[in-house]
């Protein structure tokens, strides 16, 4: 006779699961409330921002906060900067990582193993360790005060190494027979790579693209060090810190409006494509 787990009655089980659900909802509050607060504050007047008791819903919807975002700074340009830099990072990383990942997975060459170990040993390396020499390097080649460091460095730096690793794991799981068939058809390595391996690698490429885009979108230290001071070159993360008055005190309502604008696209994409996000993450987990 299979023993009942515990001596819980059916009502007891239901009460327990309601409690669990309730607990989960409560725990979600600190995660969701900040987003709500950001959005509602973006529509408040400066007077309502720190009013006590806290104002949950603004008395009147101040859309002019959003206007101010664009008039105080070239925000649209800064937005564009973030987007195009992230896009270039993604394209560059996909190319470099898939080429290198394929070679590490499939092409035997001397030194392959220790080269891979060398690359992977830097995975934990924080950018803060490298930022000083990188700053010097960029100054030497005259790239300070331009977008070049932001475009080029992430393509070869630590985030891209993660991409190479992920692509390697993916290519390892690809059946060799397909490549052999390609070779029999007379394709060289590049042909096999381009015509057979890459088309089959779309899920892995998507994961790498998402990770790279997010890393680029969020990067803060690099833009701060390489292009600070020039409003027109700023990216969104830096721009968000710039809405201040002369004494350095932030315009909170306007900053919240800018933050809302920067967060909205990602949230919308996420809401519609969450399955791909989650699958991408899960895949990383399986291969990690």
């Amino acid at each position: 006779m299979i023993p009942e787990s515990g001596s819980q009655s059916r009502a007891g089980v239901r009460a327990k699961s309601t409690l669990v659900t309730l607990g989960l909802v409560v725990l979600a509050l600190p995660m969701l409330f900040p987003l709500y607060w950001m959005f509602s504050s973006s529509l408040k007047s400066e007077g309502e921002i720190f009013k006590f008791p806290p104002v949950m819903i603004p008395a009147e919807l101040r859309f002019d906060n959003f206007e101010q975002v664009f008039s105080l700074q070239p925000f649209a340009l800064q937005y564009f900067n973030s987007v195009y830099i992230a896009t270039l990072n993604v394209i560059g990383t996909l190319i470099v990582a898939s080429l290198a990942g394929y070679a590490f997975a499939r092409i035997p060459f001397r030194g392959r193993t220790w080269l891979l170990v060398l690359l992977l040993s830097t995975l934990l390396m924080p950018i803060e360790v490298l930022i000083i020499p990188l700053y010097v390097l960029m100054a030497e080649v005259g790239w300070l005060g331009t977008h070049m460091p932001l475009i080029v460095e992430p393509i070869f730096g630590v985030p891209a190494i993660v991409g190479t690793f992920l692509m390697r794991q993916h290519f390892l799981s690809m059946p060799v027979e397909l490549e052999d068939a390609g070779r029999l058809d007379g394709l060289g390595r590049l042909g096999i790579f381009w015509r057979i391996a890459v088309p089959l690698a779309k899920p892995a490429l998507a994961s790498v693209a998402i990770l790279t885009f997010l890393a680029s979108w969020n990067s803060f230290l690099e833009p701060l060090v390489f292009v600070s001071g020039n409003v027109e070159l700023m990216t969104i993360p830096i721009a968000l810190t710039q809405f201040r008055d002369f004494s350095g005190e932030p315009f909170w309502a306007i900053t919240m409006a800018a933050a809302t604008l920067s967060v909205l696209p990602m949230l919308i994409v996420f809401l519609f494509a969450q399955r791909y996000f989650v699958q991408g993450i899960a895949r990383v987990g399986i291969h990690g």
């Binding site: 787990s5 900040p34 950001m38 934990l124 390097l137 909170w252 919240m256 920067s262």
Partner: protein, 312 residues
Amino acid sequence: MVGATDRPEPAASGLRRSVRLNYRQRDRLSGYGFVAPQVIGFLIFVAGPILAVMWFSLNDWNLIVAELDFIGLGNYQAILQDREIGNVALNSVVFAAAYVPLNVGLGLLLAVAANRATRLVGVLRTMYFAPVVVSLVAWTIVFKFILQDRGVLNGALQIAGVDGPNWLREPAPALAMVIIVQVLKTAGLSMVIFLAALQGIPREVTEAARVDGATGWSLFRRITVPLISPFIFLTIVLSVINSIKSFALIQLLTEGGPGHATTVLAYYIYNQGFQRFEMGYASAVAVVLFVIVLGLTGAQFRLRQRWVYSEE
């Protein structure tokens, strides 16, 4: 491996020898070609800077004076005598020691609970994952707003009759908040990873265990945990990485303050190098961080061999 091998053809005359590479040699060359972009970039943007930062650390170099003055291990001696360094090191340890278990534990808890509430899993997953997708800077700035002395957290506490501290201006609350803000941002990621792991456990295994009498905690400990151990390991590694890469979070919330109460090693490098312009000294701190990270990488590698349950 299937491959046609061309034999190099014998020279037609003694004067001219055509060198034809055989298939394997050509293949090897193509291998080098494929990894070249990554490797060359690595040398320029990672390996080179690591060597450079070691060299800089041996010099007294103030960015404004703009001269390198070789002083050997002078900067490292200064580190040992730096009154702030002990504080900074302690903060780094406290941050990591609190953040990693919280992030992993909370994520696991949420995943286990969400896995049970099967109807709501999708909704819950969205709710908890939303902070992960939001930009770190936006998230941190919102919290900076919320944690102001006159902000909504203290407002809510005041309604409840509690007098909240000036969260970001007092040492202990500031450090606590830095940790909490980071946990809230990333717990959703841990949760999603663990959910995928839990959903990957074949039903037959849990059923078989249940038939054998395993329930609740022992089921979790003996069956679930070993089966998801690769994912636990991955989450721990990701958490450690996150706790080292905490610059933006700290810069935006507290700028390392009050005083140096929330400065960690990574932040100290920026503070010394780009705010005090002592590039040589900052480089020495960077080398210290580098050595610590190397140690962690090695430890992580060895732990994975020993601890992660695998079917091989």
